[in-house]
Symmetry: C2
Subunit: 295 residues, 2 copies
């Protein structure tokens, strides 16, 4: 299978490594707009060749859009446009019967806007919307690593809008990456990810800002930071290019989560201010229920 990967960063690059290693990809074409990243991706060997957008889409059986969601909203219709042109011109991808066999997926962390953008596109059914729930706080081709997806969940959104054969091909691909598929509509997906992923990033960013504000002497933070602090603040290293459009596109869900979060924080603040030890204990013990869920 010829795989085209648009965006050779953490996610695209890690997919390249494992799809090749496990024999799913016979050839990988990559697209990378940043010239430094492109040179690195070629040097590391993530793609067989770094090509331009049009060539990548035309030459690949499956196209993976692994770019920030702001860019994905712009590029997804362009990929489908090229699929449409190729199908109507009888190019190889259409098997001569005018029917396109090519597939494009995105791997973004917010879905509704992306899916709405191509809802009426004539090639909509060639698009499968997926969200592999894996990542680290690092970015760029240097951050790519084997095994990133291993054993994690991958959410498929609105599969009923995609061609069943395209869905099967993508399921096969994620199976090769050893991911568990979960099916959900885009709107539910965006609510859940606001709660179990996006808010964690905001709490980490806010924590980093708080500590950096106070501790002008960075040596102190370094000396005193325990494992607990490092773990809670880890996501604050995450990249703005990726997270600004996520927060923008998932704005409404996120504002709701943030309001609940701020309420909980205020409840803690009140209990501590009032020396209400019983109240603090109840809040902590309620929070401890997370033990049942998170190893």
């Amino acid at each position: 299978m010829k795989v085209g990967i648009i965006g050779l960063g953490l996610i695209g690059g890690s997919m390249a490594i494992d799809l090749r290693r496990k024999g799913f990809a016979s050839r990988i074409l990559g697209v990378e707009s940043d010239p430094v990243n492109a040179a690195a991706a070629e040097k590391i060997g993530l793609a067989d060749k770094v090509v331009d957008f049009g060539e990548c889409v035309r030459e690949s059986d499956i196209v993976i859009l692994a770019v920030p969601v702001g860019a994905a909203v712009k590029l997804l219709p362009e990929v489908l446009d090229i699929f449409g042109e190729d199908a109507s011109s009888g190019a190889e991808s259409s098997d001569g019967d005018g029917k396109c066999r090519k597939t494009v997926i995105d791997v973004c962390s917010v879905k509704e806007q992306l899916i709405r953008t191509v809802h009426y596109h004539p090639m909509r059914s060639r698009y499968v919307s997926t969200h592999p729930m894996a990542g680290t706080e690092y970015s760029g081709p240097w951050a790519a690593m084997p095994g990133l997806f291993d054993g994690r969940a991958c959410i498929f959104c609105n599969v009923e809008e995609s061609d069943p054969a395209a869905v099967r091909k993508v399921e096969k691909m994620y199976d090769v990456l050893n991911m568990r598929p979960i099916y959900m509509n885009a709107s539910n997906h965006d609510v859940h990810t606001a709660y179990v992923s996006h808010i964690s990033h905001i709490t980490s960013f806010a924590l980093a800002l708080t500590v950096l504000d106070k501790e002008k002497n960075e040596k102190h933070i370094f000396d005193l930071a325990s494992g607990g602090f490092s773990s809670t603040v880890r996501l604050a290293k995450s990249n703005a290019d990726m997270w600004v459009p996520i927060f923008t596109q998932n704005r409404d869900n996120l504002l709701q989560v943030m309001d609940t979060y701020i309420e909980k924080m205020m409840a803690f603040r009140r209990a501590i201010e009032d020396f209400d030890e019983k109240g603090v204990r109840t809040l902590i013990e309620d929070a401890n229920r997370i033990k049942r869920i998170i190893r």
Copy 2:
């Protein structure tokens, strides 16, 4: 050296393991008020013998108070009282010259109240106030593990109020545990720990409460929780017995940190609400400076 450990939980138990393993402790007496924990600690072999409080203090050269800070405030003067009785009765610990050679340390995460409590105690100089900056989100004798302190920082507070020989003995002990000593006054200690440790616990508790409130279906959290969420919410498993008194005793510093934190959160909320992508980007990039400090 005969070591007495009051509280055979995560910290006390882990100290027992390494102080014995590295040859610092020739004999370990333990005190554990919870009968289940006491039985477990004996079975695991953390202490040579679980004894009562008085026997432990009388028979040990160095007493480690490894209990929650609320209990420590009560027990520390009692330990010093026994030191005083033994010294005036010419017991072995006083080397016959009426001068006590015994030492007590605490390992608590808040210092000012504890130090103030014994400020005028006639045996004050036999107390060395320390905070080994290590731990996990687990508690109890089952959580004890070798190597917990290895390579971490240990804060010594107000050493000028302790007998220099007692300080040297305790420095030796932490050196055996391979900890880096840092010296600080209690009031600065409490401000710094509010910023680099206590607030992280509150942000985790609040995050767990937010997600548990929303996601009534725990299976969803389990399926969707990425590594990022697990890492930010990890501290929410922490024990109320330990954290309620920390939050109470470090109330004033903590309220100030929480106010700064809530301000940062509100700044994020406003920028997201206003679709102010430039503002969100600035907040994220400011937070990214934590990269320079935390590996």
